[in-house]
Subunit: 252 residues, 4 copies
């Protein structure tokens, strides 16, 4: 299928071999929370909107009843510890597998290859289905040379995890990065996957701080992260109680 | 995906910065009833048919057994209180989300942008799931500047309504209008959504009369509108009776 | 969507304003049986195969284990009572609504418009859901002028039948015929729709004989048609018995 | 639909009228096991990767956590008993029927037709739904002339088998071979279809050895093939026991 991805530029920033950070919706929304938070904290600026027939034919209304079409957005920030960064953000991934491929293929060919990217980091969640108290950040790389570099920054590489592979934009952009020789990694914040996981996002942010050589004020996230701690503790308590009851069941 | 929308012109009218009014099938068919009624009352003329692989592969028969292919239609009328109007009408929306996008994208690029539209009004229903006695007409706009203008014409702007956003051609045409800088608004007639709602259409027509500075004879619609009133009253009566029974249930 | 319909010609016959007869699978397979039977009886010759990604990705094996790819076929015969005829035959319709549209659109533009068709007859079934003893042949036309002409040939025009319209290739080809000004009609053999209906096909053939001013030996079909008669009688008998039992039920 | 199949060459080997052998996932994975095994045993070399929006938007991780995008691969080996061979291998077929068609159509037009193929052999499984002790290798051909040639190599031709035809890449490539005049055959290893069937693959390999005039060390497969024998024996034993019990049921 030919695609009709439409990229509309607000401006066309001059960037010096930028780093691409992708954070679209996914498991526990870990990637999206992290990318959105970092993008805002670094004072980034939106420079383009990405439209596609594979996004839902939908507009959302803001508080002024002004419409916002379903899209993805490109933001940039210059000179973050000497590096330029581009963010791919949004509330949607393509609605179909084909659509996801075509959008990423178009973005790579029409936008990212022209930018001469130095690195690609795609951010996602790694859903374990179990409560996680100390979320790890797992990694997958386009090239084995990247592995040691990222291990030093706190990324865990665990052979065979995730066993089911990686899907969606996070998978495709790292794969296209590999195809075109751009050092690319997918970072996956460990999460139960049962709720939007700010704690996993904090763990991911720490890794990104280390990679970029910066520190950002994460206090906004810390509050939500503590709520995750409380939620996790409560779920564990309930599970323990239930298990005890079941163990004692034959007495009762 | 590339699209094969086919637009066949019966004629190509000379129009002076026309207003586009879209009214395709949707919730309570409010938009469709309103657009069809106004189009007919103003003595408009069909000038083009729109065919697409995203409409069902279907012909309907009229009373002479002459076939009519599933399509959308473009109608125009000149000099309505000094303004030219184009209507987008029909019995179908694209069968898939992708199809809806591609049809609207093609219409915008191939037809509407060439017409130098002055305004876009897309008409739809706002389904509340509850009986509505005095239907409001809610609005969503491409630009905040339009809001006050429309409030003066009787449009209600309610932050966060509809919470689920707007979908389909009504959403896409206003979004594309926004994209290309055409002042655009979606008007949504409040309706239970349970039946074809002529009363909500009357409310919508009153707003459009105010916007266009005209009055049209709505007596045809008034009869059907009264039937909606009776239907609404009956449903409410039944609900009340049921609730009373439930309240009294423990006595009986 | 752009389409990749592939038309491969075995030969390119010189034809003089041919009549197109379409008979693809459908309700009771009435159209397909009729077109296949007439095509063979008239000694027609295949001249092209039509391939599409919308047909199933399938080959069938003949008795020599030679493969035959899912496709549609074009056959022709010259000088049938002075008229040339092209048949569109096959075991498949496009698997999706979009596919059906694209195949017919491609056939019309790439093949049929170049042939300067004099008439289009699309053949289908009209499923009533009830046993039919004397199947009518209903008609739908591209132009009211065709109606009287066909009524004289034994076609029944019944306002509002079929109420659900006509779908698939039979609908699309007559609609495209209408679009391009080719006199076009859909003939629909009345059928219960519960089995492959050779009796309805015989009725349809009689109409086509009348239209073309020819007679063909239908004895092969007559045997199968009588089997339909017996089947219909049996079903009616069972229904009557059941109804009687139900009527007497309160006595038993 | 237009397609965006992407073929990326690692190298572009000079080949002399190569034989194409396709072995992608399918019934009992017989075709895939056979093609993968032969490809490796002959010391073949990968020369291209095939990407498509119809493969899942997925990367899998190897033990180094290096990502591998869902794709098909082209491998070649020169001078196998005087013949050059190209293998089409992979872990995926297109996710949709349309996708399967488009990938094969693109491969045929962009890769295989340029190679001036001498033969196409597509490898698949023929699922019988019953335990098979001595799997046959059934054949289907593009041209009846190939039949006797293959019968001499141990291929069974059984009119009407498989009754449901052949689907997927194995069907399409032989069909396109037929279309373009390339002698093409589909070989189908008989299998229950209930598990990955190495025994059927051994039978298929023996046929391919005979066709290519070579012998390969199949000892690796023989072990797994024996496991299939044991599994088959066990299932048969259980079935017999169950049947006996059922026969005796009225006594118990």
């Amino acid at each position: 299928m030919g695609s009709t991805t439409t990229i509309r530029y607000d401006s066309y920033p001059e960037l010096d071999r930028p780093i691409l950070i992708e954070g679209l919706p996914g498991i526990g929304n870990v990637g999206k929370i992290t990318a959105d938070f970092l993008c805002e904290k670094l004072g980034s600026k939106k420079f383009a909107s990405v439209y596609s027939e594979s996004f839902p034919p939908l507009v959302m209304l803001d508080n002024d009843c002004v419409v916002h079409m379903a899209c993805n957005e490109l933001w940039y920030v210059k000179d973050v510890n000497g590096k330029d960064i581009v963010f791919l953000r949004g509330n949607y991934q393509g609605s179909t597998p084909e659509g996801q491929y075509l959008i990423c293929d178009d973005l790579m060919k029409d936008v990212f290859l022209r930018m001469d990217l130095s690195y690609i980091y795609t951010l996602g969640g790694y859903g374990t289905g179990q409560m996680v108290t100390e979320p790890r950040v797992l990694g997958a790389v386009s090239d084995i040379a990247l592995k040691m570099e990222l291990e030093e920054k706190g990324v865990t590489f665990s052979p065979g995890e995730p066993a089911a592979g990686i899907v969606g934009a996070s998978a495709l952009l790292i794969a296209f990065g590999q195809m075109y020789g751009i050092p690319s990694a997918c970072l996956m914040g460990e999460t139960s996957g049962y709720f939007v996981d700010h704690k996993s996002a904090v763990a991911m942010l720490q890794v990104l701080e280390s990679i970029l050589g910066i520190t950002v004020d994460k206090s906004d996230l810390d509050v939500k992260s503590q709520q995750i701690d409380e939620l996790t503790a409560k779920v564990k308590e309930i599970e323990t109680t239930q298990n005890n009851r079941e163990d004692l069941g034959y007495i009762g």
